[in-house]
């Protein structure tokens, strides 16, 4: 409070101390802001440049939203007024920049913008420096409005680079003319494509050539400041050349220059050269030129003492890799991995895995590489990596025999990593027969080899090995008894872990009951996996993303594991129910449970004579709310009363889905005549195909039965199917109906796109029928992270930095149906003051827009319940 009094003082000292206090100690949310704003307003109006300067500095330092509200209209006027002092103009420009960064929506565009652009022509270089920063930031968001700045920037730049080192007096820094301004102008030009006007374009090319030429001249000073300033401009120029990506000769020259820096004695320059070259490798014009430096880069990987420089070298090797040099680069990365710092190992592992797959000509090489990878850095090999090997081995039959032989050999090592056991177990289980002819790898030897690792492994791996064993029973009848003995042992049958116990029991039973034919069908070789984007690549992309939203990242990762998933659902999903983890074998819906008695005619008679109304019950209360919750989740409890619990597990891929419905009898009495029925309206039947088999009509007390529903989305649909369950409990007839949460958004696949693409498509879908909008009040606090998680959970991709207003959320995705694919764009604009949301959906089909808008609106209304998976 005292500080605020000081602000209103007319004495300079007091005012200055007051401002200092506020700048340093008051954070932008303080309540004092309103009082402070008043004092600032007076100073801004004082026409005393010193006071105005102090006030502007204060605004720039605090930069809160309240300040933006109070001054965002005033400052542009000060900035472009003819009689404003230069120093005040400078402060005003940067002050406005700060406000624009905090609250872009509060800074009005208008007449002043064109006059700001002309500040690039100002005589005072300080004013130009400050204005360039402002223009760059504004131009990024409003490129059209500031288009004229390009030619002005080029001519200014040209004047600077051609000036003699003394021309600019105090703006020359260690013999380099105006380095800061040059860098800023080059940055500004990176907001735009190459200039269209040939004269401007020619002049810019000249400038860039001059900058490249100067790099070759002998230094004018031995001071490091001279070379730093000069090279700062050079690197920025190279960034611009890469950004334009249109002048092959400049690109190649830039590459040559960077090549020289790769061997410079300054660590800083080597670091930056590696970094810039990474970008150059992406251009088709300079990719080959970059490749010529491969030996230098490999050498850097081996000899650099600084881990951050080595990291850059790894990045560059990754960027310059193609079919011609993949073997060399992968080999070098693998050998580096043995000594690499722990902090970057995981990333290198991912990179090696991706390169090995992408550029594999010979898949035996790929298999060798990945096994090496596991041997060298097993701990850093994530699930995705070994899933992927298996996918590839299964999909390519030319490599299967080799893979089996190689893993068999690798498993001989006395100590091998658990990941190797997983890959080995899986591959031998599928293709062990291909090497069984060799007496050195006979079935029994294979089995003993795997089993020798069994006790050292974690539960999920052991579960996987049990599946391998049952596959062996099918592949090699001669080891059947040995394996049955293992399964029968107490350590399996009475294992404390439910999953292991269940597998042991089921597999043992399967191997005794089933005939060879059935066994062969059930345990058939896995079918090829559908081709899809490598999940490893997705993981690497994610790793590179900002770490600030780790929770969200986690959520995304889980999702992507679902979508791109490995060859099997994680067996670790602690399943107390007859869970789909039996899927490991590809058994899917056919668990080898002993078949129940066939529905007897007596059962039918009871039905006929029962006085039960066979009409469908009205929807259970509360089911509507529960339904909304399932919009974004696939698993959970759908319905529960004193008698019955209905749980769901479902997965969706493209236009197909599968839902497991679990009916749990909560009582100790049998349910009789248990009949669940799926009811679809005629409309719905045409658009959504559901297939299921009837379940056992008796459900024992405390027991649970499972029903599988296969789902196909034929065309877009609005309604949801109803699940009606009728059964007899004691003497009473029970009738329950719930909506089954199969909603259109389940067939959503996220699509990433850049800002430009997004808005281009957005404009294409501007037909009034294609857009549906809903404005509604937020029922819960408007938390950004939760909203983001909800949009991702909804199934669309969340596109960051696409909307000019960072408060808005935009998303994109594709709805898959049998007949068509429908592209969808969505935009959610929160209004914090009014606590309202505006949701806009644009898709190529009216009904889809309508339905998605409804679903998402309802879902946004829900509070973040703890059971909601993507909020955790």
């Amino acid at each position: 409070m005292e500080a605020v009094n000081l602000l209103s003082s007319n004495r300079y000292t007091e005012k200055q101390i007051g401002y200092l206090f506020i700048s340093v100690l008051v954070n932008s949310n303080s309540e004092l802001i309103r009082l402070i704003n008043n004092a600032i307003k007076n100073d801004l109006a004082s026409r005393n440049p010193t006071f105005m300067g102090l006030a502007l500095h204060c605004i720039a330092n605090v930069g809160s939203r309240e300040m933006a509200e109070a001054f965002a209209g005033e400052i542009p006027k000060i900035l472009v007024a003819g009689d404003t002092m230069d120093s005040v103009k400078q402060s005003a420009a940067l002050c406005l920049l700060r406000l624009y960064r905090t609250s872009p929506d509060l800074v009005p565009m208008g007449d002043w913008t064109s006059r700001v652009v002309h500040l690039l022509n100002d005589q005072h270089l300080g004013v130009v420096t400050a204005a360039t920063s402002l223009i760059t930031t504004l131009a990024q968001k409003n490129p059209e409005e500031f288009k004229t700045s390009v030619s002005l920037a080029v001519s200014r730049l040209s004047r600077i680079v051609t000036s003699a080192s003394t021309d600019l007096q105090d703006y020359t820094y260690y013999f380099v003319p105006a380095p800061w301004l040059s860098v800023k102008l080059l940055r500004l030009l990176q907001c735009y494509p190459p200039p269209e006007d040939p004269a401007v374009r020619g002049r810019l090319t000249e400038c860039l050539e001059t900058i490249l030429n100067k790099a070759q001249e002998p230094p004018k000073s031995k001071k490091v400041q001279h070379s730093n300033a000069k090279n700062a401009v050079l690197f920025e120029a190279i960034s611009l050349i890469i950004h334009h990506d249109s002048e092959p000769s400049l690109l190649v020259r830039a590459c040559g220059q960077l090549g020289q820096f790769l061997q410079h004695r300054e660590t800083n320059l080597r670091y930056l050269a590696l970094e810039s070259m990474c970008a150059l490798a992406g251009s088709e014009f300079s990719h080959d030129a970059v490749k010529t430096h491969i030996d230098t880069v490999i050498n850097a990987l081996k000899t650099e003492r600084d881990v951050s420089v080595r990291q850059r070298a790894v990045d560059l090797l990754y960027a310059m890799c193609d079919r011609s040099n993949a073997q060399q680069i992968v080999a070098e990365m693998l050998s580096y991995l043995e000594t690499a710092d722990y902090s970057i190992r995981e990333e290198i592992v991912l990179k090696v895995a991706i390169l090995a797959e992408k550029y594999a000509v010979d898949y035996t090489w790929y298999v060798d590489t990945i096994l090496n990878l596991i041997r060298i850095a097993g701990d850093y090999v994530s699930e995705e990596v070994w899933y992927r090997v298996i996918q590839i081995v299964i999909n390519r039959d030319d490599v299967q025999g080799y893979a089996a032989k190689t893993v068999f050999e690798a498993l001989q090592a006395p100590a091998c990593h658990e990941n190797l056991v997983k890959v080995g177990g899986y591959i031998l289980g599928e293709f062990g027969n291909l090497i069984a002819g060799d007496p050195r790898s006979s079935p029994l030897i294979q089995f003993h080899l795997l089993h020798s690792k069994f006790h050292l492994c974690s539960v999920p791996t052991r579960a996987l090995l049990l599946s391998t064993y049952i596959k062996f029973v099918n592949l090699f009848p001669e080891v059947k008894t040995t394996i049955q003995d293992v399964l029968r042992s107490d350590s399996q049958l009475k294992n404390a872990d439910v999953e292991l116990q269940q597998r042991a029991v089921e597999y043992l039973r399967l191997s005794t009951v089933a005939s060879t034919d059935i066994l062969a069908t059930v345990l058939e070789e896995m079918p090829p996996f559908p081709e899809r984007e490598s999940s490893i690549l997705a993981k690497l992309k994610k790793k590179k993303g900002p770490n600030t939203v780790t929770d969200l990242e986690e959520a995304k990762r889980e999702r992507s594991a679902d979508v791109n998933g490995g060859p099997e659902p994680a067996p670790a999903s602690a399943a107390s129910t007859p869970s789909p983890s039996a899927d490991l074998l590809g058994l899917g819906a056919a668990p080898p449970a002993p078949a129940g008695p066939p529905p007897s005619s007596g059962g039918l008679l009871v039905d006929v004579f029962s006085d039960s109304p066979s009409a469908v019950a009205p929807l259970a209360p509360g089911s509507e709310d529960n339904f909304a919750r399932f919009v974004c989740k696939n698993n959970g409890v759908l319905f529960e009363n004193q008698l019955l619990q209905i749980g769901l597990k479902s997965e969706f891929r493209q236009n197909l889905g599968r839902m497991f419905i679990f009916y749990g009898n909560k009582t100790s009495t049998q349910f009789l005549n248990f009949t669940p029925t799926l009811i679809c309206s005629d409309d719905l039947q045409m658009n959504l195909s559901l297939q299921t088999k009837p379940v056992d009509p008796t459900v024992d007390g405390g027991a649970q039965v499972q029903q599988v529903v296969n789902i196909e989305c034929v065309s877009d649909f609005t309604e949801a199917p109803v699940l009606n369950i009728q059964f007899r409990y004691g003497g009473t007839f029970q009738n329950v109906s719930v909506k089954l949460p199969i909603t259109l958004n389940k067939f959503f696949q996220p699509t990433e796109m850049a800002s430009q693409d997004f808005f281009q498509r957005w404009k294409q879908l501007s037909n009034p029928q294609q857009e549906v909008q809903n404005i509604f009040k937020a029922k819960h606090p408007m938390d950004t992270e939760i909203t983001k998680a909800k949009i991702i959970g909804f199934g669309s991709a969340l596109l960051e930095e696409v909307d000019p207003n960072p408060a808005n959320f935009v998303g994109a995705g594709i709805i898959h149906t049998r007949t068509t694919q429908i592209g969808c764009l969505l935009r959610l604009e929160p209004n914090l003051q009014a606590q309202m949301y505006r949701l806009t959906l644009r898709t190529s089909k009216e009904t889809v827009s309508q339905r998605l808008c409804e679903l998402l609106s309802v879902f946004l209304h829900l509070c973040c319940v703890s059971s909601f998976p993507c909020c955790k």
Binding site: A60, T129, V183
Partner: protein, 160 residues
């Protein structure tokens, strides 16, 4: 630029300037993390490092570390020279600056920084212009102080 930190070799924070709104807790956490990271680096290592999604540029002058956090597209070398120019400005103003000058005249260090950098961007690169602005302010300050003195001699101010 997102923020600038000055700290001593012992890890004591001497000056901090934040150009993005962050909570105090967050600021403390960042400071602690960065001071540790930077102090752990050896002298011959490069002056840039990646940290979270930012780039850190740092340089050591005598016992003081100057450390700036910039964004992905920002230029590292020119940031290094921003640090150097700031050191030059301090040096010129204090006459061969040392850590103690910054501790005892921290307000001057902030004023100089404000004249040079504003909102995280370079405002004025000319050494002369920056120092002129500071000198003018100092002059004003003296003037007001003199008036205060003369007033108290005449006895206009009530005795405390």
């Amino acid at each position: 630029m997102q923020f600038m930190l000055l700290f001593s070799r012992q890890g004591k924070l001497r000056l901090q300037k934040w150009y993005v709104p962050l909570s105090d807790k967050e600021k403390k956490k960042i400071t602690r993390e960065l001071v540790q990271t930077v102090l752990a680096r050896k002298p011959k290592m490069c002056s840039f490092l990646e940290w979270r999604d930012l780039k850190i540029v740092y340089k050591r002058y005598a016992s003081l570390y100057f450390c700036c956090a910039i964004e992905d597209q920002d230029n590292e070398l020119i940031t290094l020279e921003i640090i150097h120019r700031y050191v030059e400005l301090l040096d010129k103003y204090f006459g061969s600056v040392c850590e103690l000058d910054i501790i005892f005249n921290f307000e001057k260090a902030y004023f100089i920084l404000d004249e040079f950098l504003l909102g995280g961007e370079v405002q004025e690169t000319s050494k002369k212009n920056v120092l002129k602005a500071i000198e003018q302010a100092d002059l004003l300050q003296e003037k007001t102080e003199n008036i205060d003195l003369s007033k108290s001699f005449i006895g206009c101010k009530p005795a405390y």
